[in-house]
Protein backbone atom coordinates (compact mmCIF):
# COMPACT_ATOMS: atom_id res chain seq x y z
CA UNK A 1 0.00 0.00 0.00
CA UNK A 2 2.78 2.41 0.84
CA UNK A 3 4.42 2.28 -2.56
CA UNK A 4 1.08 3.31 -4.01
CA UNK A 5 0.31 5.91 -1.34
CA UNK A 6 2.59 8.66 -2.67
CA UNK A 7 1.12 8.25 -6.15
CA UNK A 8 -2.42 8.32 -4.77
CA UNK A 9 -1.71 11.39 -2.60
CA UNK A 10 -0.23 13.46 -5.41
CA UNK A 11 -2.78 12.45 -8.03
CA UNK A 12 -5.57 13.31 -5.59
CA UNK A 13 -3.91 16.68 -4.94
CA UNK A 14 -3.99 17.40 -8.68
CA UNK A 15 -7.62 16.23 -8.97
CA UNK A 16 -8.69 18.46 -6.05
CA UNK A 17 -6.64 21.56 -6.82
CA UNK A 18 -5.31 21.77 -10.38
CA UNK A 19 -7.76 23.62 -12.65
CA UNK A 20 -5.48 25.08 -15.30
CA UNK A 21 -5.43 22.24 -17.84
CA UNK A 22 -6.88 18.77 -18.41
CA UNK A 23 -4.91 15.94 -16.77
CA UNK A 24 -3.87 12.62 -18.32
CA UNK A 25 -3.36 9.85 -15.76
CA UNK A 26 -1.20 6.77 -16.25
CA UNK A 27 -3.24 3.86 -17.59
CA UNK A 28 -6.32 5.97 -18.25
CA UNK A 29 -7.32 6.72 -21.84
CA UNK A 30 -6.93 10.38 -22.71
CA UNK A 31 -7.72 12.18 -25.95
CA UNK A 32 -6.00 15.53 -26.39
CA UNK A 33 -7.85 16.56 -29.52
CA UNK A 34 -9.63 19.84 -28.96
CA UNK A 35 -7.47 20.99 -26.05
CA UNK A 36 -4.79 23.68 -26.16
CA UNK A 37 -2.63 22.27 -23.41
CA UNK A 38 -2.57 19.42 -20.89
CA UNK A 39 -0.39 17.68 -18.36
CA UNK A 40 0.37 13.98 -18.07
CA UNK A 41 1.25 12.40 -14.70
CA UNK A 42 3.44 9.42 -13.92
CA UNK A 43 4.93 8.00 -10.72
CA UNK A 44 8.08 5.86 -10.65
CA UNK A 45 9.01 4.10 -7.35
CA UNK A 46 12.79 4.16 -6.86
CA UNK A 47 14.07 2.97 -3.51
CA UNK A 48 12.90 2.00 -0.01
CA UNK A 49 15.09 2.57 3.06
CA UNK A 50 14.74 1.46 6.68
CA UNK A 51 14.86 4.32 9.17
CA UNK A 52 15.11 2.23 12.35
CA UNK A 53 16.40 4.21 15.34
CA UNK A 54 17.79 1.17 17.16
CA UNK A 55 19.37 -0.55 14.20
CA UNK A 56 17.14 -3.63 14.39
CA UNK A 57 15.39 -2.83 11.11
CA UNK A 58 11.98 -2.61 12.80
CA UNK A 59 11.61 1.14 12.37
CA UNK A 60 9.92 3.23 9.74
CA UNK A 61 10.45 2.81 6.05
CA UNK A 62 11.03 5.70 3.69
CA UNK A 63 9.51 5.11 0.28
CA UNK A 64 11.35 7.19 -2.28
CA UNK A 65 10.12 7.82 -5.79
CA UNK A 66 9.93 10.24 -8.66
CA UNK A 67 6.77 12.01 -9.77
CA UNK A 68 6.95 13.04 -13.41
CA UNK A 69 4.76 15.75 -14.89
CA UNK A 70 4.85 16.05 -18.68
CA UNK A 71 3.64 19.49 -19.78
CA UNK A 72 2.18 19.96 -23.26
CA UNK A 73 1.31 23.22 -25.01
CA UNK A 74 1.09 24.61 -28.52
CA UNK A 75 4.37 26.52 -28.58
CA UNK A 76 7.67 26.69 -26.73
CA UNK A 77 7.00 29.76 -24.52
CA UNK A 78 3.62 28.37 -23.42
CA UNK A 79 5.25 25.03 -22.62
CA UNK A 80 7.87 26.72 -20.46
CA UNK A 81 5.15 28.77 -18.73
CA UNK A 82 3.10 25.64 -18.02
CA UNK A 83 6.17 23.87 -16.58
CA UNK A 84 6.77 26.91 -14.37
CA UNK A 85 3.18 26.75 -13.14
CA UNK A 86 3.52 23.04 -12.34
CA UNK A 87 6.74 23.67 -10.40
CA UNK A 88 5.05 26.43 -8.37
CA UNK A 89 2.03 24.22 -7.81
CA UNK A 90 3.77 21.15 -6.43
CA UNK A 91 7.26 22.10 -5.18
CA UNK A 92 7.99 21.71 -1.46
CA UNK A 93 4.46 20.55 -0.62
CA UNK A 94 3.26 17.95 1.82
CA UNK A 95 0.21 16.39 0.24
CA UNK A 96 -2.28 13.76 1.37
CA UNK A 97 -1.44 11.97 4.59
CA UNK A 98 2.26 12.77 4.57
CA UNK A 99 3.82 12.58 1.15
CA UNK A 100 6.58 15.14 0.97
CA UNK A 101 7.48 16.56 -2.43
CA UNK A 102 10.79 18.31 -3.11
CA UNK A 103 11.47 21.14 -5.55
CA UNK A 104 10.61 20.34 -9.17
CA UNK A 105 13.40 19.96 -11.71
CA UNK A 106 12.91 20.90 -15.36
CA UNK A 107 14.45 18.26 -17.62
CA UNK A 108 15.76 19.43 -20.95
CA UNK A 109 14.04 22.03 -23.10
CA UNK A 110 10.66 22.06 -24.79
CA UNK A 111 10.74 19.43 -27.54
CA UNK A 112 8.40 18.90 -30.46
CA UNK A 113 6.25 16.05 -29.16
CA UNK A 114 3.43 15.38 -31.58
CA UNK A 115 0.84 17.10 -33.74
CA UNK A 116 2.39 20.55 -33.20
CA UNK A 117 2.48 20.17 -29.45
CA UNK A 118 5.62 20.81 -27.45
CA UNK A 119 6.58 18.89 -24.34
CA UNK A 120 8.58 19.66 -21.24
CA UNK A 121 9.19 17.23 -18.41
CA UNK A 122 9.32 18.28 -14.77
CA UNK A 123 10.38 15.73 -12.14
CA UNK A 124 9.77 15.83 -8.40
CA UNK A 125 11.55 13.72 -5.82
CA UNK A 126 8.97 12.26 -3.43
CA UNK A 127 9.31 10.71 0.03
CA UNK A 128 6.62 8.87 1.93
CA UNK A 129 7.22 7.47 5.43
CA UNK A 130 5.28 4.48 6.77
Amino acid sequence: MSIAQAKIDIEQYFIDTWTQTPIAFDGVAFNHSGVNDWISLKYVPIQNDSYAMDGNLNGRIKYNGQFQVFCYAENVPLTYALADDVISFLSSRIVGIGTSVKVGQPRGNAIDADNNFYEMLVTFEVDFYA
Binding site: H32, S40, K42, I46, F70, G108, D114, T123
Partner: protein
Amino acid sequence: MSLSKEFENLLDQKQKILNKVVLNLYSELVRATPVDTGTLKTSWELKKVSSTHWVLSNNMEYAEIIFRGIRPGVKGGSKNLPDGVYPILQKFNTQLELELANIRA
Protein backbone atom coordinates in the same frame (compact mmCIF):
# COMPACT_ATOMS: atom_id res chain seq x y z
CA MET B 1 46.38 14.26 13.33
CA SER B 2 46.79 17.94 12.44
CA LEU B 3 43.83 19.98 11.29
CA SER B 4 45.22 20.44 7.79
CA LYS B 5 45.93 16.71 7.49
CA GLU B 6 42.38 15.97 8.63
CA PHE B 7 41.01 18.41 6.06
CA GLU B 8 43.06 16.78 3.30
CA ASN B 9 41.80 13.39 4.39
CA LEU B 10 38.21 14.66 4.24
CA LEU B 11 38.68 16.02 0.72
CA ASP B 12 40.28 12.77 -0.33
CA GLN B 13 37.32 10.77 0.97
CA LYS B 14 34.86 13.08 -0.78
CA GLN B 15 36.71 12.76 -4.05
CA LYS B 16 36.78 8.97 -3.84
CA ILE B 17 33.04 8.86 -3.20
CA LEU B 18 32.32 11.24 -6.07
CA ASN B 19 34.52 9.25 -8.45
CA LYS B 20 32.83 6.00 -7.47
CA VAL B 21 29.27 7.35 -7.84
CA VAL B 22 30.01 9.07 -11.16
CA LEU B 23 31.56 5.95 -12.65
CA ASN B 24 28.66 3.80 -11.41
CA LEU B 25 26.16 6.29 -12.83
CA TYR B 26 27.96 6.30 -16.17
CA SER B 27 27.92 2.48 -16.28
CA GLU B 28 24.25 2.36 -15.34
CA LEU B 29 23.24 4.90 -17.99
CA VAL B 30 25.18 3.04 -20.69
CA ARG B 31 23.68 -0.25 -19.55
CA ALA B 32 20.13 1.17 -19.50
CA THR B 33 20.33 2.90 -22.89
CA PRO B 34 18.15 1.06 -25.43
CA VAL B 35 19.87 -0.35 -28.50
CA ASP B 36 18.65 -0.18 -32.06
CA THR B 37 21.78 0.65 -34.04
CA GLY B 38 23.92 1.11 -30.91
CA THR B 39 24.76 4.73 -31.73
CA LEU B 40 22.87 6.16 -28.76
CA LYS B 41 24.58 3.80 -26.34
CA THR B 42 28.05 4.64 -27.63
CA SER B 43 27.37 8.39 -27.60
CA TRP B 44 27.68 8.73 -23.84
CA GLU B 45 30.71 10.78 -22.90
CA LEU B 46 32.22 11.19 -19.46
CA LYS B 47 34.70 14.01 -18.96
CA LYS B 48 36.55 14.96 -15.79
CA VAL B 49 36.91 18.74 -15.73
CA SER B 50 38.47 19.00 -12.28
CA SER B 51 38.70 16.86 -9.16
CA THR B 52 35.12 17.70 -8.20
CA HIS B 53 33.62 18.53 -11.59
CA TRP B 54 32.50 15.86 -14.03
CA VAL B 55 30.47 16.26 -17.21
CA LEU B 56 28.35 13.36 -18.42
CA SER B 57 26.67 13.92 -21.78
CA ASN B 58 25.01 12.31 -24.75
CA ASN B 59 24.92 14.45 -27.88
CA MET B 60 22.62 12.35 -30.08
CA GLU B 61 19.88 14.58 -31.46
CA TYR B 62 17.09 12.17 -30.47
CA ALA B 63 18.56 11.39 -27.02
CA GLU B 64 16.07 13.61 -25.20
CA ILE B 65 13.12 11.91 -26.90
CA ILE B 66 14.32 8.46 -25.78
CA PHE B 67 15.58 9.45 -22.33
CA ARG B 68 12.37 11.11 -21.22
CA GLY B 69 10.51 7.77 -21.34
CA ILE B 70 7.24 6.65 -22.89
CA ARG B 71 4.11 8.79 -22.81
CA PRO B 72 0.86 7.26 -24.06
CA GLY B 73 -0.50 9.00 -27.14
CA VAL B 74 2.70 10.93 -27.80
CA LYS B 75 5.56 9.89 -30.07
CA GLY B 76 9.00 8.99 -28.74
CA GLY B 77 10.38 7.00 -25.86
CA SER B 78 11.51 3.39 -25.93
CA LYS B 79 9.80 0.30 -24.56
CA ASN B 80 13.21 -0.79 -23.23
CA LEU B 81 13.48 2.37 -21.12
CA PRO B 82 9.83 3.19 -20.34
CA ASP B 83 10.54 5.41 -17.31
CA GLY B 84 13.39 7.33 -18.93
CA VAL B 85 16.76 8.10 -17.35
CA TYR B 86 15.60 10.62 -14.74
CA PRO B 87 14.74 8.04 -12.03
CA ILE B 88 18.30 6.70 -12.46
CA LEU B 89 19.74 10.20 -11.94
CA GLN B 90 17.62 10.66 -8.80
CA LYS B 91 18.73 7.29 -7.40
CA PHE B 92 22.41 8.12 -7.80
CA ASN B 93 21.95 11.66 -6.49
CA THR B 94 20.38 10.23 -3.32
CA GLN B 95 23.21 7.72 -3.03
CA LEU B 96 25.81 10.50 -3.36
CA GLU B 97 24.09 12.62 -0.69
CA LEU B 98 23.93 9.66 1.72
CA GLU B 99 27.55 8.69 1.24
CA LEU B 100 28.77 12.27 1.65
CA ALA B 101 26.65 12.64 4.79
CA ASN B 102 28.25 9.50 6.21
CA ILE B 103 31.69 11.14 6.10
CA ARG B 104 30.50 13.77 8.57
CA ALA B 105 28.92 11.18 10.88
